[in-house]
Symmetry: C2
């Protein structure tokens, strides 16, 4: 069983988590940071195993991510996708030519019997990353979204194909109950100085991590050192459907709603300055509240936010 | 069961067969031509199902093949392969970015439950081909090469990775005995006016076709209308390891050796003018012999050769 001697564990979805991590590895030695990444939005397409959140984290930390989209590679070409249109193939999930190499490699290695954690470590190392990146589990887990008109659909069908422009009446993580946490993950949570819940979608990025057996109990056990960063700022998600999903699933779409969602697993919530007036309500939900600029539109702001998070854990 | 009302059935490997077919569809209505293609060099790589001979036939007939190599697409880019080098991935089997789309599409459709014949027809139609292209079987068959130093290796390992630069002591087609001919194939052979054995490698391209149950007996039954074109010219293969393989496996590396290999299944052998002096020996092997230019270095020569083949069947 691998041991991760990380001082900082970060529970991650995609873009928001990647940005915070890019600051975290400046605020903290990269080797001391462990990114635990959601895989419930992994998908099998064209026979390839695609791990969108892992790739977003790796590409971002490598400085190779497309800065316009926050996912995929910068300076990408799309010749394979363009050619796929000849066959009327599936092109709504855009795979750039260079990005394809990642999926080709991952799939080949999985076919050879390597597990996802091993392949992820290989990919991260190939990009020269020093922080450690692991999937929450090596087992297949899949977020499923129930819509009023079409019943249950796959996450990428919801997220990419329909651009999360449909209502959701339920979200579940298929396979989670039978999944095993990535080897070393639970020990890392127990031994870390701080566990960070990144400003990722609570419903479709963080909830799947917590749905893997023993992960949520580990956070509850270590709640005193868990610091969450709100992905909701001024009542809106900075990116993606977090705001809409929160409302549709009956949660308050605010930092208070986030606080209530995380109250059992986190002791501190970092909220944006625009939400400062809600700090008392966050505290009423049972969390310490830290107010800080949370919009990471450049690396300095991401680093500053990472430092706020690290300080928050020290102060509680 | 589909019925193929083809007047001309062509047993095909890759490049040589594709060239003859490109002439055949000018000498004969394309709709009357059925290409029955070897799939024993199909390979699973990066999770993708790759059918090199089918793709060579389709790309060539579509006028899209890379004229320098005879395989792959013209004006191709290699960004995925270049990016795969970062991971130290498998790059010896070169997959161009646009070519990748074909493998992505094929794999996706196979994953959805379509069989290889259906997917091949879809791909051929997408390129606007009028001739019909089918795999010899929808079942997996795989050419295996025994080498003195490494035992049995996969065909593409032999052919591409080692550039067929190792000795072969045995060749077998794994899976052939349990394979079923592509639906419609046997009827097409019985009903065609002519069956052509393309100038493909007798050992690794044509033998796998004949190894699928009921195919060889169908040819024996229809031997009177089977015309083979020798892939050996002046004692050498125009492309690939046919000459070397023939010698290593104990066959005569000449048109006479080819005649002896095909004596049971073909009634006529077309040989190149440089081998005219061997026509009597071909006849001694039991085949009618037609001497003609067989080197298809342009479309006119390919068309002329196709016409020679069609005439050969009429004259016998």
């Amino acid at each position: 069983m691998p041991e991760f001697a990380a001082k900082v564990c970060v529970l991650c979805g995609g873009v928001g988590a990647a940005k915070l991590l890019s600051g975290m590895v400046r605020a903290q030695r990269p080797k001391d940071v462990l990114a635990i990444v959601n895989t419930a939005d992994d998908t099998q397409l064209h026979g390839l195993h695609i791990s969108p959140d892992i790739d977003t984290v790796v590409y971002t930390l490598a400085g190779a991510v497309n800065p316009q989209t926050g996912w995929g590679l910068a300076n990408e070409t799309w010749n394979a996708m363009d050619a796929l249109e000849r066959y009327d193939g599936i092109t709504w999930f855009r795979l750039g030519d260079r990005d394809l190499a990642t999926h080709l490699y991952r799939t080949q290695r999985l076919t050879q019997g390597a597990n996802l954690a091993t392949v992820t470590a290989e990919i991260a190392a190939s990009w020269g990353l020093e922080l450690q990146v692991i999937p929450v589990t090596n087992d297949p887990i899949q977020t499923k979204i129930t819509t009023p008109d079409e019943g249950e659909i796959d996450f990428q069908d919801y997220f990419v194909r329909r651009r999360h422009n449909v209502a959701a009446t339920n979200v579940r993580v298929a396979g989670a109950q039978g999944a095993t946490p990535c080897p070393g993950l639970l020990g890392a949570l127990d031994n870390a100085n701080i566990i960070v819940i990144a400003p990722s979608n609570p419903i479709v990025s963080i909830a799947p991590l917590l749905a893997v057996p023993k992960v949520r109990p580990a956070l509850i056990r270590q709640r005193h050192k868990v610091v969450a960063v709100s992905p909701i700022v001024g009542g809106k998600a900075l990116k993606g459907p977090a705001d809409r999903l929160l409302r549709e699933l009956g949660h308050e779409c605010s930092v208070v709603g986030v606080a209530k969602l995380y109250a059992q697993v986190a002791s501190t919530l970092v909220i944006d300055e625009v939400d400062a007036h809600l700090a008392p309500a966050v505290q009423d939900a049972g969390l310490a509240c830290v107010v800080a600029p949370t919009i990471m539109d450049n690396i300095d702001k991401a680093t500053a936010l990472a430092q706020v998070v690290l300080n928050a854990s020290h102060s509680t």
